[in-house]
Every structure is written in structure tokens, then in C-alpha cells.
């Protein structure tokens, strides 16, 4: 079954190009488009995509606000921030709002497909430079609720960029159980995305 993707960008030419390009990949299906954050949320309600490609600077409702709202209402929908270099500084805001990753509009087009698939699998993918910068920004409670041993294992693997399925195989547990562990980890750490959890793991030295 192909991955359902929603495009949110205020530039119609970009949506048009993305739709055209993504349609080449039989694993991906662009189910809809929206030209601002508010429309984006409406479309998610209607179309139930798995992954949202979200521009950050948009009229009516900007991308960061939309990501925050989406993560609250639809924790299972992963959002990739798609930004121009000009908005680079907003990346931190997007990750903090709960985006699983971000892509620059200069990124190689092939990587776009790979990133969407990884996001759909819950895999965290960040470039080392971006991770270094983001780690400093990540805010977790000073004394978070202690993770269980199993949760710590899951967090470590998650931070290594493994998908839920891979984590399940490695720990010899069910995929659903992995998902439950991830939700518990996020709740205990007071974080809103896998990316933030991965950055937290880097910060406390669980992975390097």
C-alpha cells in the first residue's frame, strides 16, 4: 500500500512540481494539497494522510503553528518541514513543534522520496550538522520521569534512526508494543515527537 502524502505550501508552482515528481514513485500517493496551515489541518482531517510536507512561511496560519496543532490532534501523522534556506532559522521551531524532520527546498529531489518513506516508518533522519544544532535547543524537563530499561532500549534504537519494525525485530517484541513504548517515552519526557526523543537521547549521551 502506498504512503498517503499531503502537500502544504502557499506557492502553487511548488505544489504542482512536488505532485508531479512524487507521482513517479509508486510507493507514494499525493492525496491532497493545501495553501496554508489552516487549510492543511482541514485536509488532514478529511484525507488522513500518513505524512505531511509542510512549508513554514505561509499566510493565514504558518507552518510551525500548524505542526503544533497537528501533533496534538493527530499524533500518528508525521510532518516533514519543507523550507527554503531563507527560513533555516525556523527549523528549530518546527522540530520543537513536533516535526519528525526537515528538508531544504534545495535538497536532492531523490532524497525527498526517501525522507517521506522514513517518516512514514517513524524513522528519525537528521543530518549531523542539524542534529548538533538542534540538540542544544531541545528542552526536556530537568528531572523527567525515569524510563524503564525496555523504554531506554527503544529510545536508543529510535535515536539510531531505526523504524518501529526494525526496533521490534531487534528487541524481539511486537511492532505495536514498540509504538506503545514510544508514546510512553514521549509522555514521560514531555516531548512531542520521535525527533525530539532522538535528540534527547543524543543530549544525555545514550547515543553519540
Amino acid at each position: 500500500m502506498s504512503i498517503r502524502v499531503l502537500l502544504v505550501d502557499d506557492h502553487s508552482v511548488v505544489r504542482q512540481g512536488l505532485r508531479m515528481f512524487l507521482s513517479l514513485d509508486p510507493d507514494l500517493e499525493v492525496v491532497g494539497e493545501a495553501s496554508n496551515g489552516a487549510e492543511g489541518i482541514e485536509q488532514v482531517r478529511k484525507l488522513h494522510p500518513q505524512v505531511v510536507l509542510m512549508d513554514l512561511v505561509m499566510p493565514v496560519m504558518d507552518g510551525i503553528t500548524a505542526i503544533q496543532n497537528l501533533r496534538k490532534e493527530f499524533p500518528d501523522v508525521e510532518v516533514i518541514a519543507l523550507t527554503s534556506v531563507l527560513e533555516d532559522e525556523k527549523v528549530v521551531g518546527a522540530i520543537r513543534a513536533g516535526a519528525i524532520g526537515y528538508l531544504l527546498k534545495d535538497t536532492q529531489a531523490d532524497e525527498l522520496c526517501r525522507a517521506i518513506k522514513a517518516a512514514a516508518n517513524g524513522q528519525v533522519q537528521l543530518s549531523p550538522q542539524a542534529a548538533a544544532r538542534l540538540v542544544r535547543e531541545i528542552k526536556a524537563p530537568d528531572s523527567p520521569e525515569k524510563l524503564t530499561e525496555r523504554e531506554t532500549d527503544v529510545l536508543r534504537l529510535l535515536a539510531l534512526g531505526r523504524s518501529n519494525k526494525e526496533i521490534a525485530n531487534e528487541l524481539v517484541i511486537g511492532e505495536k508494543t514498540v509504538k506503545t513504548h514510544v508514546s510512553n517515552i514521549l509522555m514521560k519526557l514531555g516531548l512531542s515527537s520521535r525527533t525530539q526523543a532522538a535528540l534527547y537521547a543524543v543530549k544525555i549521551g545514550l547515543v553519540s
Binding site: 506557492h11 502553487s12 508552482v13 511548488v14 504542482q16 512540481g17 512536488l18 508531479m20 515528481f21 513517479l24 512561511v57 499566510p59 527554503s84 534556506v85 531563507l86 533555516d88 527546498k105 534545495d106 529531489a109 531523490d110
Partner: protein, 596 residues
């Protein structure tokens, strides 16, 4: 009108250059925000201080205008001598005042007398000094007598080549129990000056004393008035001079010319030294700034200026020979010196240094005036710095705007082109017939991008408004807009209007702002831009079929509306806007053609 797209018209940007430009623009954003905040703060402070200074100057100016009568001492004393003659006769008469160790002659009557302004050293005149300290008249009724005073005076008068005199008297000018001068009379008739005539002359001497004191008082007032005038003059000139060097030279010149000081220098603190700017900035033939050519005193260590720059306090040195801080230079006639700090926010940035060729050349009022001038110079310096900063800020803002526009238009188009090309490339391998759609998409994006680039390059070179004209400029604007947004934009324009570049630029900016507003707020489908000459006026009209707004209420783009109105009014035109909710918006700018 539309302009056909031809790639040869514009200098293209290579992708590399383009990427570099974009990166650079992005960097300026942060700088801009910081500079902006700092400037707002300083601007506010400066505004307050300029206002304060203006109030002070206005008051000072009023005071100086109040003193308008001229009081001349010499004619007045001459008059006193003439009146005296009707009561107490003389062949020769003089009134002189004590000035340091001399008698300074102010008025005389009779042949062979020294000129007013001549000095007689008092050192040798023991008798006169004794008379002055006793504050009582001395007289010799008959100069041929053999008394010591008579002998002394005979010799004295002969030495001055004054003959035929047989009676002589001297009366002190006493004011507030102080001898301030001498009234001297001589008569050919022996025994003319007796006790009663001397007493009568004393009354006139007292009158002269009062006149002299009044005149001195007046001179002091006049000097103060002059000082105030200088302050206002410097203040007035400062506002029109923006070059720093020019400002310092002008200020130094005004101080010197108005006060007659020996030397005036203005130095700025540069690192650990005070560097005198006025001599470098002045024309080489200008004697005014020649002195102390090579002196750049170390702050806090060398010279009087250095001391003032170090402590931030004004300093008066009444006698430089007695002050070890003084640095003498070649042919220096400086006898006293004062230096005043120029401060901005408590920090010494420079020094006004004034030298006099007189010992005790400065008094309290000089200090007040110089301090006031130093304060004004400080404000002017800060002003000059802010002007520079504001210029930089405007450039930064311009660059930021360009960055935003690049982002909004060209960079999105380029990304679309990348996606389209990647798609086409893949489809060429799979099924070449399918590649038509992405190729068409690339083509349309390239055309749109080109139109955007033209519009942007046009904005970078506003002079093209002159070379290519307003109609062409509006054409590019309209084309870019139509390519970027799902809008049908048309331009209807006649031949290039015969108006000034200012008018063209205003109209171009108004059109730009109006079209931006339409894109941002109006949700229009059709936009019409019209430029035409109607009767004796040039009209620019922009209308859309968008949502419109209530013109009476606050609405998005309100500020832009004010800017448009201001632009129109600045070139003598009018600006009108008609709109209502769901009824579109119509903007009309009229420029009278006589106003070009």
C-alpha cells in the same frame, strides 16, 4: 501593454552567483534586526536632546536681541571732559584707567597728548600709585614752586614734551571705594588749581568712574550677548553641516572669530591619543589652524587637552608657564589655555582647546559658552553618526526586501524547475511521451522566473526608470505579478508621460505597493492598471475585483495606504481610494502636469 520576453535584454545571474547572493542576503537579516533596535533607541534619545537644545538656543537668542544699543566709552568720557571745562578749565586733560600695571589712556583733550589706547607703565610713577592707594587727589598749584612734587611733575611733563604749563592736578576715579583710574588736568596759569577747583573736578572724576564701570558692565553684557549669538550660530550651522570635518572647522572658526582667541583647536579621541582635526581639515593657507602641528597628546598623560580627555572635566589654566601639563610649541605665544571635553553619554569623544595670548585670558562665562558649544558639537557628531547608520540601515532593509522577494518568487520557481526537470529526466527513461507535461511546466516556470528577475533587477537599478521609462517599468511589474500569482493583470498605458523622474518613481512605487496589497489581501481575480493623461493631469488607476474593505476602518495594508498617499502628495498629486466589502478596490492617483 506587454513587453515580449527576450532573454538577451537582461544580464543573467548564474546559479552560483544566485545562490551566493541569496546566502548573503539571508545573513543580513540578523544584522538588520540588531541595528534596527539600536537605532530606534538612539534616535529617540537624540530627538529628545535636539529638542532640548533648540529650546535653550531660542531663549539665548531672545536675550542677545534685547541688547541692541551701543555704548561707546571714549565719546562719553570726552563729553565728561568737555563739560568739565565749562566749570574747571584746563589746557591738557586725560582720563585713564588702571589696567594690570599700566595706566591705559581712554580719553584726552589738548595738543600733544598721547593717543587714547596708549599705556603708561605705573612702576616708575611712585607718586601716582601713592595717590591711587590713598584715593585722594594730588595737585600742584604752581609748578614753578620748589616742593618735591612740583619738581617731580616739572620733570615729568618736560619728559613728555609738554610745555607752558604752570598748574597741575590729579584726581583718582573712585568706584565702590576702589581707585579704578585717574583724571589728570594741567593749566598754563599758575595757582589755577586750588582746593575748591580740585574738589569740583573730583565730582566729574566720580562721574567718569561711574561711566567707566557702566561701560565695563555693558561690555561684559555685550560679550555675553556675543557669546550667546555664537552659540546660536553654531547651533544653526551645525544642523546644516553633515560632514564631520567641515563641522569641526566651522565651529573652531566661529569660536575664534567671535571671541578673538589666539588659537582654537578641536581634537577627537582616537585610541589613546587626542588627534586635532581642525588643522588637517582646514585649507593649508589658513593660519588659524597652524599651531601645534605635530602634537597628538596621550589621553590622561600629555598636555592640557590630554588631561581633559582623560578626566572628562573642563580645565582653565590661567598661566601656562606655571602649569607643567602645558606643551609649548614653536613660536608659541600662548599664555593661558582652556580645554573643554566633548562628551556623548558620559564618554569623552573629543576636546575643544582654546588658547589665549593673554595671561588670565578666560573667565567663567567663557567656560559656560565653550561647554555649550562642546555639547552642541557632541549632538552634531552623534547626528552625523546616526545619518551614516540610517543609510546603512536603509541599504540593509532594501537587501532584506530583495531577499524576501527572491524567496517568494524566483527561488520557488527554481525549486519547481528542479522538481520538473527531475520528473522529466525520469520519464524520458520510462516513457518519453509523458515528459511533455513536466517540460511544459518547466518552460512556464522559467518564463515566470525570468519575468520576476527582470522586475527584481529593475528594482535594484531604479535609474532604469529613466532609461526605459515608467510604462516599461509598469509592464515588467504587471508581467511578474501575472506570472507569479493566479491573477489576470492588464496594463493599459499610452506613450511615456513627460514628467520628472521623481513623479515616475512615485507612481511606480505606488503601483508596486497597491499590487502587493492586492496579492496579499484582496483575493482578486482580475487587476487593471491604467496610466493616462486626462486634461491637465496624469492619472494612475489600479482596480481589482477582490474582497475590498471598509475604508473607514482599520484594515490590513493600512500603513501602505498612508505611504501611497504620502508619495502622491510629495510630488504635488492626490491619492484617492474607493472600496467596500466585496466590491473590489479602486485606487486613483492624479498628478497635475503643471507640477512636473
Amino acid at each position: 501593454m506587454t513587453s515580449p520576453i527576450s532573454p538577451h535584454e537582461e544580464p543573467g545571474l548564474s546559479p552560483l552567483e544566485f545562490a551566493r547572493l541569496r546566502e548573503e542576503l539571508q545573513k543580513t537579516n540578523a544584522e538588520l534586526a540588531a541595528a534596527n533596535a539600536a537605532l530606534r533607541k538612539t534616535e529617540h534619545e537624540l530627538e529628545r536632546r535636539v529638542e532640548e537644545r533648540t529650546r535653550e538656543l531660542a531663549t539665548l537668542l531672545r536675550v542677545s536681541y534685547n541688547i541692541t544699543t551701543t555704548l561707546e566709552l571714549e565719546p562719553l568720557l570726552g563729553l565728561i571732559l568737555d563739560q568739565l571745562k565749562e566749570v574747571v578749565e584746563y589746557q591738557l586733560a586725560s582720563i585713564s584707567i588702571l589696567d594690570e600695571n599700566d595706566l591705559l589712556i581712554l580719553a584726552t583733550r589738548g595738543e600733544g597728548m598721547p593717543q587714547p589706547g596708549s599705556r603708561i607703565p605705573l612702576n616708575e610713577h611712585v607718586k601716582t600709585r601713592a595717590m591711587l592707594s590713598k584715593k585722594e587727589p594730588a595737585f600742584v598749584p604752581d609748578l614753578n614752586a620748589e616742593t618735591p612734587l612740583a619738581q617731580h611733575m616739572r620733570k615729568n611733563l618736560a619728559a613728555q614734551n609738554l610745555h607752558g604749563l604752570n598748574s597741575w592736578m590729579n584726581a583718582p576715579l573712585v568706584f565702590r571705594s576702589q581707585s579704578i583710574g585717574v583724571l589728570a588736568l594741567a593749566h598754563p596759569e599758575a595757582n589755577y588749581y586750588n582746593a575748591s577747583r580740585v574738589e569740583l573736578a573730583m565730582a566729574f572724576a566720580n562721574q567718569a568712574a561711574v561711566a567707566i564701570e557702566n561701560a565695563r558692565l555693558f561690555a561684559r553684557e555685550q560679550r555675553r550677548a556675543e557669546q550667546f549669538r555664537v552659540i546660536s550660530e553654531v547651533g544653526a550651522r551645525i544642523t546644516s553641516i553633515l560632514s564631520l570635518d567641515q563641522l569641526l572647522v566651522e565651529t573652531a572658526r566661529i569660536i575664534r572669530e567671535s571671541f578673538g582667541y589666539h588659537h582654537v583647536h578641536i581634537g577627537m579621541v582616537e585610541g589613546e591619543r587626542v588627534v586635532f582635526k581642525t588643522r588637517n581639515a582646514a585649507p593649508p593657507e589658513d593660519e588659524l589652524f597652524r599651531c601645534c602641528e605635530d602634537i597628538t597628546p596621550i589621553v590622561g598623560k600629555e598636555g592640557i587637552s590630554g588631561w581633559v580627555a582623560g578626566t572628562g572635566e573642563a580645565l582653565v589654566v590661567p598661566d601656562v608657564m606655571k602649569d607643567p601639563r602645558f606643551i609649548p610649541s614653536k613660536n608659541d605665544q600662548t599664555r593661558s589655555e582652556t580645554a573643554i571635553p566633548i562628551k556623548i553619554k558620559g564618554q569623552v569623544i573629543g576636546v575643544i582647546d582654546v588658547e589665549s595670548d593673554q595671561v588670565n585670558g578666560f573667565d567663567e562665562s567663557d567656560l559656560v559658552v565653550l561647554q555649550s558649544l562642546a555639547d552642541q558639537v557632541a549632538v552634531a557628531l552623534e547626528n552625523a553618526r546616526l545619518y551614516e547608520q540610517a543609510g546603512q540601515l536603509a541599504a540593509l532593509e532594501e537587501r532584506q526586501k530583495l531577499a524576501r522577494e527572491l524567496h517568494d518568487s524566483v527561488s520557488q520557481a527554481l525549486y519547481g524547475i528542479v522538481l520538473g526537470a527531475r520528473t522529466a529526466r525520469t520519464l524520458l527513461d520510462r516513457d518519453p511521451t509523458q515528459a511533455v507535461q513536466p517540460l511544459d511546466y518547466i518552460l512556464s516556470l522559467s518564463e515566470a522566473g525570468l519575468a520576476e528577475m527582470r522586475a527584481l533587477i529593475f528594482e535594484l537599478r531604479p535609474e532604469s526608470l529613466q532609461t526605459e521609462g515608467l510604462v516599461a517599468a509598469l509592464g515588467k511589474l504587471v508581467n511578474a505579478l501575472g506570472a507569479r500569482h493566479p491573477l489576470k493583470v492588464t496594463l493599459e498605458a499610452e506613450t511615456e508621460p513627460d514628467v520628472s523622474l521623481d513623479v515616475k518613481e512615485s507612481l511606480y512605487r505606488i503601483a508596486q505597493e497597491a499590487l502587493n496589497n492586492i496579492v496579499k489581501h484582496a483575493r482578486a481575480q482580475q487587476v487593471k492598471v491604467l496610466l493616462k493623461v486626462a486634461g491637465n493631469e496624469l492619472r494612475l488607476e489600479i482596480s481589482d475585483d477582490g474582497t475590498g474593505f471598509d475604508t473607514g476602518a482599520e484594515f490590513p495594508g493600512h500603513l501602505g495606504m498612508i505611504t501611497m498617499r504620502e508619495r502622491a502628495e510629495k510630488v504635488g498629486g492626490t491619492f484617492a481610494i474607493e472600496s467596500a466589502l466585496n466590491a473590489g478596490t479602486h485606487i486613483q492617483v492624479k498628478i497635475p502636469l503643471s507640477a512636473r
